[in-house]
């Protein structure tokens, strides 16, 4: 399990990209983070349900939409996992483990993001 990150030690969201794209527009940054906080839980639920149901088409669609949003709010540590699920979910033996890891990290990041807006 050396690929997996200890959630206690996961990095905090990196907002460099968002600051750059918005030109450090505080309102815009806040709005993007708010949108993420509002929509991410639903996406995580869909991700888990699709993985449990073995619905690979749905997994592909969800991860496709999720990647840019994770980049915007700087949750970069899960990008590789999301991309792997997007392209290889059918062949993965550790699909559920990866999904759980993503959920934990994203939820943890959401808590962090809630505190900074």
């Amino acid at each position: 399990m050396e690929d997996y990150i200890d959630v206690e030690e996961m990095p905090v969201p990196d907002l460099t990209y968002l600051r750059s794209v918005t030109g450090d527009d505080k309102d815009a940054i806040k709005e993007v983070i708010t949108i993420f906080i509002e929509t991410a839980p639903e996406m995580l639920t869909s991700l888990k349900n699709s993985a449990l149901a073995g619905n690979h088409e749905q997994l592909r669609a969800i991860t496709h939409k999720f990647i840019p949003q994770l980049v915007y709010v700087g949750i970069l540590s899960v990008i590789t996992d999301v991309k792997i699920i997007n392209s290889e979910s059918k062949e993965m033996n550790d699909l559920m483990q990866r999904v759980e890891k993503i959920i934990k990290i994203v939820n943890n990041s959401i808590d962090y993001l809630k505190n900074i807006i």
Binding site: S20, T22, D25, A28, E31, I35, H64, I67, P68, Q69
Partner: protein, 378 residues
């Protein structure tokens, strides 16, 4: 070319709020006007109502995906040309290729790089602006050409008939008058007036035909079976009167019984121009030779003068329509520079080729060939 971004509207189509928000912010900051849609169907409605200048289109969307939007847009005549930059989170080659097949102008990955995205948008907008400028200039040019051709046509048409009448009167006068009944000066004036009238008529006739050929109204070559010898004799006969004014003799060398399937009016115009030029550049008292040479399936007609000839430098300018090259004849006759251009065009349209050789101070020979029918085709 200076581009004012605020004159251009970019439609952003994406089903993810955060994407739309960031794109809108970025593009607005660059000075563009923006419109937004969150699915393909709404995007098509906006395109119909507002006609944006550029579309940033996400591929994977609910209700109608980006590829389908592009496909439908290409079917709307006045919207088909709106450039589309596809946006997608994954660099799927299949998606990219499909996008370009549907006419995508460009492709950008999400999450986008700010500078790259703006560079690509600016590039598309500069292409749109250049296209519009070219379009405007083309339209202005088209109108100018129509105006010019109309003017040429009116001048040529409306002046041709009265000049033709004057020319006829002059010819009748000169033919009917007794040389000794008037002063030498008066007779010279009459000869000059007759020559000028004839030149003017030829110029107007050429101008009219040139205008027609340039405006596409002379596209159809009216072909008929034409007795080549009759054609040559007829043209020479008419021009003998003109040649006589410079004491020039026109000799026909050779003969033929061949028939050519040609537009008689065009070939007559070509031959008339060549003989007129030969007269123009011949000296008083010299000879112009019109020679007919039979070749297998073709006839070659040579018009040879022993006049001023053409310098090497001027030979290169003879058939350049943009320069309208013209020069004065041996008796200071003026030309329009249209005659040879017409000859070349008309000979080509009748399946022939115009040739020439010339030496300054020795004279010129212009020739053209036309295909003839063999007896089985008649």
């Amino acid at each position: 070319m200076e581009i004012n971004n605020s004159e251009f509207t970019v439609l952003i189509v994406d089903d993810v709020d955060a994407n739309v928000l960031l794109l809108k912010l970025l593009i607005s900051k660059a000075g563009y006007k923006t419109l937004t849609a969150f699915n393909g169907r709404d995007a098509l409605e906006i395109v119909e109502k507002h006609r944006p200048d550029l579309i940033l289109l996400d591929i994977m969307m609910p209700i109608m995906d980006g590829h389908e939007v592009a496909r439908r847009m290409r079917e709307i005549p006045d919207k088909a040309e709106i450039p589309i930059i596809f946006l997608s989170a994954l660099n799927s080659t299949e998606d990219i290729v499909q996008g370009f097949k549907l006419g995508a102008a460009d492709y950008v990955s999400k999450p986008f790089n700010k500078d790259e995205l703006l560079t690509r948008i600016n590039h598309q907008v500069s292409l749109i602006a250049a296209k519009r400028l070219i379009s405007r200039q083309t339209e202005e040019l088209r109108k100018t050409i129509i105006g010019r051709d109309k003017l040429y046509s009116v001048i040529a048409h409306d002046l041709r008939a009265p000049i033709a009448s004057i020319r006829m009167v002059m010819e009748v006068l000169i033919a009917g008058i007794k040389r000794e009944s008037i002063d030498d000066d008066m007779y010279e004036l009459l000869i000059m007036a007759n020559r000028l009238t004839d030149d003017s008529f030829t110029l107007l006739d050429n101008l009219l035909k040139w205008t027609k050929s340039q405006t596409g109204r002379l596209n159809t070559v009216f072909q008929d079976n034409v007795d080549v010898m009759n054609l040559v004799s007829g043209v020479v006969e008419v021009l003998r009167a003109v040649a006589k004014l410079k004491n020039i003799t026109i000799n026909i060398i050779g003969s033929t019984e061949r028939i050519a399937r040609i537009d008689i009016d065009m070939v007559k115009t070509a031959l008339r121009n060549l003989i007129s030029n030969a007269i123009k550049f011949s000296y008083d008292g010299s000879v112009v030779e019109v020679e007919i040479v039979e070749k297998p399936d073709r006839i070659e007609i040579f018009v040879k003068d022993h006049g001023a000839g053409i310098s090497k430098e001027n030979q290169e300018r003879l058939f350049k329509s943009e320069s309208h090259f013209t020069s004065f004849g041996t008796d200071n006759e003026e030309g329009s520079g249209l005659g040879l251009l017409l000859c070349n065009e008309f000979v080509k349209r009748n399946g022939g080729t115009l040739y020439f050789k010339s030496q300054e101070g020795i004279g010129s020979t212009f020739s053209f060939d036309i295909p003839t029918l063999n007896s089985n085709n008649i």
